[in-house]
Amino acid sequence: MKLITALVRPSKVDAIKSALVALEIVGMTVSDARGFGRQKGQVERYRGNEFTVDFLPKSKIVVAVPDEKLEAALNAISEAAHTGEIGDGKIFVTPLLDAIRIRTGERGPIAL
């Protein structure tokens, strides 16, 4: 099992969800996030005072997948989130030790 953490443009979340559901990966967690990478921050002005805001709005998607679906899931997310401009985001993959479905107590890939 692997845990995928994708930091993407907020406007791409729907497309990513659809792409993952098409792979029968059901279940994901999305949260609002602020962050920066190579993309520069933005300058905001309030009453003439400039504020440089380094952290830009992003969405953080967390999804756990069985090993055999990992490559397909990564491709799906990359394609759905791609625009080619700076600021498309990043995907991180980490090993997942275990998973538990609380309702039934099932463990391992079956709990995903």
């Binding site: 443009r9 729907d14 609002d32 602020r34 300058v43 905001e44 002005r45 309030y46 805001v53």
Partner: protein, 492 residues
């Protein structure tokens, strides 16, 4: 604006008014009756500008009345508050990344139209310089001469409100009317395009509409005119803004990704706050449109009663249809009821205001289901992205209100001295006749506003462009158009 009917434009109108006034006062012997007649006359303020130059009969000149003028000043403040109220109402419906832009489309007009009105808008709406039943003149530029050197002179013979308070009151209406249109264009129109649209639309659509309905012009109830009545702006404000919204939504086009991209309102408490401020302000909008404090009780009561009935109706429909009464439904229903009673407020019985509120709520509910999204459901497949239901509420509610005004107007509340053309129709062919007249005025307004709005939008499209780019739309208009963010977690 209700009682503006009197004038025809130019000398004829003034002469007509003088004749009517003299006849009316001459026929009244009891002093008590005479004073109520004066109050009635005072209530007829709308045409003041028309009479201002012609006041020769000293007998009928009324001193400015403090209470009546205070009503207008209070009413002006109330109507002004409706614009930030509308900003909250609309702002709650949009996405968090567009809320400041949405609110600015209303709020900013307090600046733009606020200046425009004083410089030239009032003159184009209520002047007589051009001698035309369609447009005013340049006689009141900078409000020059309005209310005399101290601003305390009455609007015209027979009116007890000061001319300056009338000009201010009318200005507040001019501000909110284009703001209503913004509901159809949110989340994609370029703010620069909005600036030019609001400016041109105010001058070339709103001012002629105000002249035609309230300034003694073509559609109004003055002698020899069409005879339609509009108490506080069903035609001038709500139909005009609703039709413009529909046309503008078609020309500007839907938001990118519509209708799949539509989201629920980002802040429902804002919607309730906005609706509350609108309701409160509507006491000025309709109530103070009676132009005389003593008789304004009815127009205040019908206004709030209609809103209550409409909110109740909308919630009950929600309840029966979907099992739960919704907060957004309650807010929308209240606004629909206020829109519906606007043309009727001073012309109908109190019982009728309940009927108007309920009927308008049902009609607007159906219209909102058809037009789709509105921020509530997003189920519509319609390609016309009338985003915040400006037409479904203001256009449909205003139209139905105008027609119901014809059907339900009470003869005693449409006195022949103030509304000669309308009273004549009521006398000769009853409410059905007035209904048909209202229908004619509504259809004329649809045509005039639709054509004018199309021309203005095409000019803007060819010059400054109408929309932001799809990338900017995705980023959010708060940052793109204003360089600000409404909610930034990093500033916590």
């Amino acid at each position: 604006m209700p009682r503006s009917s009197k004038s025809g434009g130019g000398i004829t109108a003034e002469a007509t008014f003088d004749r009517l006034r003299t006849r009316m006062l001459a026929g009244i012997h009891s002093p008590q009756l005479k004073s109520s007649a004066l109050v009635l006359l005072a209530a007829g303020a709308g045409m003041l500008p028309l009479m201002a130059g012609s006041a020769k009969a000293a007998l009928t000149k009324m001193p400015t009345d403090g209470a009546d003028t205070l009503l207008m000043l209070m009413g002006s403040a109330l109507v002004l508050l409706m614009t930030p109220g509308l900003a909250f109402f609309y702002g709650g419906f949009t996405r968090a990344k567009n809320v400041l832009n949405t609110m600015m489309m209303s709020f900013f007009l307090m600046g733009l139209v606020g200046v425009l009105w004083v410089v030239i808008g009032y003159s184009l709406s209520f002047g007589t310089g051009f001698g035309s039943p369609f447009i005013g003149g340049l006689d009141f530029l900078m409000l020059n001469g309005v209310g005399g050197p101290l601003g305390d002179e009455p609007l015209a013979d027979g009116f007890a409100i000061s001319a300056s308070s009338f000009a201010l009151f009318q200005g507040m209406f001019a501000i909110i009317t284009p703001a209503l249109i913004s509901g159809a264009l949110v989340e994609r129109i370029n703010f620069k395009a909005w600036f030019w649209f609001a400016l041109l639309w105010s001058l070339f659509i709103y001012c002629p509409m105000a002249k035609m309905v309230w300034g003694g012009g073509f559609l109004g109830a003055a002698e020899g005119m069409m005879g339609a009545i509009d108490f506080a702006g069903g035609t001038v404000v709500h139909i005009a803004s609703g039709v413009a919204a529909l046309v503008a939504a078609a020309i500007v086009g839907p938001r990118t990704g519509y209708p799949e991209s539509v989201r629920p309102p980002h802040n429902v408490p804002y919607i309730l706050l906005g609706a509350g401020l609108l309701w409160f302000g509507w006491f000025g909008f309709n109530g103070a449109s009676f132009f005389a404090a003593k008789g304004a009780g009815f127009s205040f009561i019908t206004t709030t009663t209609s809103a209550s009935a409409a909110m109740l109706t909308w919630c009950l429909i929600d309840w029966f249809k979907d099992g739960k009464p919704t907060a957004v439904g309650a807010a929308t229903g209240a606004v629909a009821g206020l829109v519906g009673i606007t043309p009727a407020a001073g012309f109908v019985a109190i019982g009728s205001s309940i009927v108007i509120g309920a009927v308008v709520a049902v009609a607007c509910y159906v219209a909102v289901q058809f037009s789709g999204a509105g921020g509530v459901g997003g189920s519509s497949k319609s390609v016309l992205d009338e985003s915040l239901d400006a037409f479904s509420v203001h256009g449909v509610g205003g139209t139905l209100g105008a027609l119901l005004t014809g059907a339900l107007a009470v003869k005693e509340l449409v006195p022949a001295d103030y509304f000669p053309a309308a009273a004549k129709i009521l006398e000769e062919s009853g409410n059905f006749g007035l209904f048909l007249t209202q229908l004619k005025a509504v259809l004329f307004t649809y045509g005039f506003v639709a054509i004018g709005t199309v021309i203005i939008l095409l000019i803007i499209k060819a010059t400054v462009g109408l929309r932001v780019s799809p990338e900017d739309e995705e980023r959010g208009l708060d940052f793109v158009c204003h360089g600000e963010e409404a909610y930034d977690p990093m500033t916590n």
